[in-house]
Symmetry: C2
Subunit: 219 residues, 2 copies
């Protein structure tokens, strides 16, 4: 029979429990969003009571902040690593995506944590997310500046729009990936490469059509 309620579980070290709660909470927040996730849901999924979650993390915001700190550190570190490898332009973007696929293969929901539109805009958690999100956005901006600079574009608004778009592209791939759990990181990387190539091919084709060599006859 099931152990009776309140059965002490001292056998499990507190640190492990905290880790387990964080894991479960990250999945929940990252999948359903901060607003749509209840503390009771997290507690049930972790197999403990709601009160214990509060005893560990103080508040829903505190729990959120703890999740964010973990995810933010992981992601920012990885993106910074790619930023230092010397690639640039679209190439750098593809490499960044590849690195993120590799790191997040078994924790795909983590990306959503830092880019959750339903997260509170103020409070302690917002401070944490702001720190990491700003760090990640700074890296994105660095890449975009390089890319656009090479094309002669320095307008601040262009840069800002492109950064937003780049982050949106990453969002999209992550969402698609979450919806396709059977796809592993390697497949995702190859897929992105394929799609980028296809876009480039379209560009080439467009150029060719604009400067036709011969056959121009109207049908």
């Amino acid at each position: 029979m099931a152990p009776r309620p309140n059965a002490g579980t001292k056998g499990v070290p507190r640190a492990d429990r905290e880790q387990e709660i964080l894991r479960v909470a990250s999945v929940a927040f990252g999948t359903d969003g901060f607003a749509a996730t209840g503390v009771a849901d997290v507690a049930r999924a972790a197999g403990i009571s709601k009160a214990l979650v509060y005893s560990y993390f103080g508040s829903k915001e505190g729990l959120h902040a703890a999740c964010l700190a973990e995810a933010g550190g992981l992601l920012a570190a990885e993106i910074e690593r790619v930023a230092r490898d010397g690639s640039a332009g679209v190439e750098r973007g593809v490499r960044t995506l590849a690195a993120m696929f590799a790191v997040l293969d078994d924790r795909r929901h983590l990306w959503r944590l830092l880019r959750d539109p339903s997260a509170a805009v103020d409070g302690p958690a917002a401070e944490v997310v702001a720190r990491y999100a700003a760090r990640i956005e700074a890296l994105a901006r660095e890449g975009v500046l390089e890319l656009l600079g090479d094309a002669g574009i320095t307008d601040e608004l262009d840069v800002s729009a492109m950064v937003r778009t780049w982050l949106g592209i990453v969002d999209s791939f992550m969402d698609w990936w979450v919806a396709h759990p059977d796809q592993d990181a390697g497949e995702m990387t190859r897929r992105v490469a394929r799609l980028v190539t296809a876009l480039a091919a379209d560009h080439t084709r467009r150029l060719a059509a604009r400067t036709p060599r011969r056959e121009d006859a109207a049908p």
Copy 2:
């Protein structure tokens, strides 16, 4: 002095009031999302009582559905128009964006309505949003199929991922646009064209670097 409460307002036709509520609600839902918007907020912004909103639209979902039907019809019609103009590939994407900027110049929040992650996934409103969102996604898929087909890609997963990414790109530009109210539709269109050109230029540069004519010396 202010008109006393309950002062009859028969002077305002009911249809106009409904329109006003829809306008206000669309802004609220589109800006803050469905979940984060309260019926009381909408009522206050429209200058009427919460109960009147219920008397007109039955429920929060009913109000949402009414907003969605309006926005969905407008957007789907416009995208269909572009789909029929014969353009293809990236060119078609740029034209679609341009058309949407033109249509949404003074109602930028409408796009968010159809792509609101906080909207209910079932219920009457979900049915409406599903109809229009599916229609818009079908058009996106049509464009992507063309683009990828020309590049020799027919894999269903590639197509699906690219559709998701395309919608994400539109999302991004709309979000950026909402955050930059001073930018008009024409400026947005030119900005997109500029950014696409810059990406293409990066591609060209990459090709050139891969087949170097001369200088290859290691530093």
